[in-house]
């Protein structure tokens, strides 16, 4: 296990990884044409990260992430519209909604393992879609929920941060992302995280050692639901709109594909995957409405040829560069052989 997580350039260490995230957060709006696009990447990176906690660290393939994304979006929007909740309250509400829905889905789906779990998450995802469609009084049905506000952060009536400016909103989302990333990193490096890995590697063995694996799986499912709920809420605030497509199966599939393309089992990979897919979608969806076809092909290629995803590819590249450089320092004669 330690071999699997060992990464080159000390990137397995927490401070280095967080620095890398920080550098990426600063670089993103500089590279990209708009702050809105950069914000969208971070939002989907959050969703992919949450999906990764399940797929990469617990071995749970969930087709239900769109449920939590959609519920976070609707939940936060309704809290803001009807109860006039502020930004932080709405995000907290979205996390609670996401975790609660994850508890409901998890309590039923985690009764079954393996293939049944996967099928149940997909079936519940469809159920949530039809529920949102049916409850059109709350969700706006096919038209989506319009006029979702993006409240400023205020203390006692004083505007602390004005989030109407897309750049300010980006900074706010970036700070949230960094906090959640650091939190998720802590979770996976904790004894709780080691137990999740034990479940991923061999659930029967983990259960035999005495862990209540169902309990652990439901907890990580709820954590994932909460983070995805926050992502959904942020997305609704970004668009000022919560469309029905937030909760449909395609959303679940998108989040899953970002996770896998970025690299399962690597939190930073989720940022890479979300970045790659969001930018690709942004560029291609205008030119070629059927670009999902390409997404399908990319998914197949990654699974067949590059199962580590983008992060795995970069890590392998880094390892080779590093190996040749240390060989340079220590024994120059050997360089040619390693190359």
């Amino acid at each position: 296990m330690s071999n699997k997580t060992a990464l080159p350039m000390g990137l397995g260490r927490t401070p280095a990884l967080l620095l890398l995230v920080l550098a990426s957060l600063v670089a993103l709006p500089l590279i990209l044409p708009s702050a809105t696009l950069a914000t969208e990447i971070l939002i989907f990176a959050l969703a992919a990260l949450a999906c990764n906690l399940l797929l990469g660290y617990t071995g749970l393939l969930s087709f239900g992430q769109g449920i939590f994304f959609g519920v976070g979006a609707y939940g936060a929007a309704l809290l803001m519209i009807h109860l006039k909740w502020g930004m932080l309250g709405a995000l907290f509400g979205a996390a609670v909604f996401g975790a609660f829905l994850a508890l409901l889905v998890g309590a039923l789906a985690i009764r079954r393992t393996g293939i049944y779990f996967v099928m149940l998450t997909l079936a519940f995802s469809q159920m949530a879609y039809f529920l949102a469609y049916t409850l059109s009084g709350w969700t706006g049905g096919d038209n989506g929920l319009l006029d979702v506000p993006r409240p400023n952060i205020e203390i006692a009536g004083h505007v602390l941060v004005d989030l109407a400016d897309p750049r300010h909103f980006y900074v706010f989302v970036a700070v949230l992302f960094l906090l959640i990333f650091a939190g998720a990193l802590r979770v996976i490096r904790s004894p709780f995280g080691s137990t999740l890995l034990a479940i991923r590697e061999n659930e029967t063995r983990a259960a035999a050692i005495g862990y209540d694996t169902r309990h652990f799986k439901i907890l990580v499912f709820m954590l994932s639901g909460a983070i995805t709920g926050i992502a959904g809420a942020l997305y609704a605030m970004l668009l000022h709109f919560a469309p029905l497509s937030n909760i449909d199966l395609m959303m679940s599939e998108n989040i899953l594909i970002m996770t896998i393309v970025g690299g399962t089992g690597s939190l930073f990979g989720s940022l890479l995957g979300a970045g790659a897919i969001v930018v690709l979608g942004d560029v291609l969806s205008e030119l070629w409405p059927r670009w999902l076809m390409l997404l399908g092909a990319i998914l197949i290629l990654v699974v067949v040829f590059m199962r580590g995803g983008l992060w795995g590819g970069l890590a392998a590249l880094g390892k080779r560069l590093l190996a040749s450089r240390t060989a340079d320092d220590k024994a120059p004669a050997k360089t040619k052989e390693t190359l």
Binding site: A123, F124, F130, L249, R290, I298, I300, R307
Partner: protein, 286 residues
């Protein structure tokens, strides 16, 4: 009023038989190949569209009913040979993801070829009338649907229970290694079974086409329903797929006259209820 319920019950049986064909294909593939084909709904969709094209060219629904499923099965056979065969050694997660990729490609290719708006397929002229029994009126096509799907189901049962191929499929579902060691070309069996299972989804797509037409984004919905059927009936069970399919079809059909918006919702509710009471489905083995 009672006539309406009888009407909806029969509709439900027809719909249920279609769901049965989809689910039993999924189940056979899972039984032998041990992974869930997430492209199943997309192949169903392809069956409906190929039926549209075949009818447009030949003008004959019966020919389409023969050609379209065979074409879908042939494509599935090729996909298995070229792609899925390469990933049998990987964990099931990866096989699911590859079939998800295939589903996206088929769906988008269908939109590319046939356009984003659905296509209507006419009921064949021989079955256009209605059956009149006193006050009760029922379309012939829907009766044909129930009968034809039952015939296919019977043929499939005979194939699985009474032929050498069926015996190999059943034996392989118990232990692929043993069958392989006994001298059967297991990879050939895999591709044939995959083509058979997917072909059944193609048949279902063709039969469904005159009812609802060919809709480009119906794949995920069909896949979701097929999962509900196998979760209710229990994966790997022929009888389970039949009972589950009929149950889901009847629930959906009955609900569509009581609460139209909630009809789709109710089938997922039925699934949740079954899992609460019997986590392994009605006929599933633990």
């Amino acid at each position: 009023m009672l006539d309406l319920y009888l009407f909806q019950l029969l509709n439900g049986l027809g719909l249920g038989m279609i769901y049965f064909l989809i689910a039993v294909g999924l189940t056979i593939i899972f039984g032998l190949l041990n992974f869930v084909n997430f492209a199943h709904g997309a192949f169903f969709l392809l069956g409906a569209y190929l039926c549209y094209t075949a009818v447009a060219i030949t003008g004959n629904f019966w020919l389409a009913l023969l050609i379209a499923p065979l074409a879908v099965a042939a494509l599935a056979w090729a996909v298995e040979r070229l792609l899925i065969k390469r990933i049998y050694h990987l964990p099931h997660t990866f096989q699911i993801l590859v079939t998800l990729g295939i589903a996206l490609i088929i769906q988008e290719a269908s939109v590319l070829i046939w356009g984003p708006v659905g296509k209507n397929i006419a009921v064949p002229p021989e079955l256009r009338g209605v059956l009149i029994l006193g006050d009760f009126i029922y379309p012939y096509y829907r009766l044909f649907l129930i009968g034809f799907a039952a015939l296919i189901g019977l043929g499939l049962w005979l194939l699985l229970e009474r032929t050498r191929f069926g015996a190999l499929v059943r034996a392989g579902s118990e232990s692929t290694e043993t069958v392989s060691l006994l001298g059967t070309n297991i990879f050939r069996l895999f591709s044939l079974t995959f083509a058979l299972g997917v072909g059944l989804a193609g048949v279902a797509g063709v039969l469904f086409a005159p009812l609802r037409g060919a809709q480009p984004f119906v794949g995920p919905e069909i896949l979701g329903i097929a999962f509900v059927v196998v979760v209710i009936g229990g994966m790997g069970s022929f009888g389970g797929a039949l009972v589950g399919g009929l149950l889901v079809g009847v629930v959906q059909s009955m609900m569509s006259s009581l609460w139209p918006q909630g009809a789709s919702l109710m089938i997922y509710g039925a699934m949740a209820a079954v899992i609460l009471v019997r986590p392994y489905g009605l006929f599933g083995r633990a």
